[in-house]
Symmetry: C2
Subunit: 65 residues, 2 copies
């Protein structure tokens, strides 16, 4: 399967936010809605830092540009 | 493999931008750098509209929030 795990990068560390993510949708400029394979939803504040699909990793960060 | 294809949503239509994408990285606030499995790179202007990992689809759009 091609789901991914999401992490929040804060103070040089990555903290796991959610696993088995299928869908990522922006919520205006504040953040993103994450939806898992199982229909679980989570809203996070922050911006996208990087997505690496082969490694199944999505990293967000709270810092502005 | 878990690569995805990227599309640009414009005027109600989705146009293929790039296939076999591994990495997505933001370029400040302007857009994103896409990197394929084969090391090919492309920079696009726009914002993220939606990512669907199970369907291997990444959709961008040029409209602001």
């Amino acid at each position: 399967m091609c789901e991914a795990a999401a992490f929040m990068y804060t103070n040089g560390r990555e903290e796991l936010i959610m696993e088995s993510i299928d869908v990522i949708e922006p919520i205006d400029e504040r953040g993103f809605r994450l939806v898992s394979l199982f229909g679980e939803q989570k809203e996070i504040e922050g911006r996208l830092k990087a997505v690496n699909l082969i490694n199944h990793r999505i990293v967000f960060e709270k810092q502005p540009y």
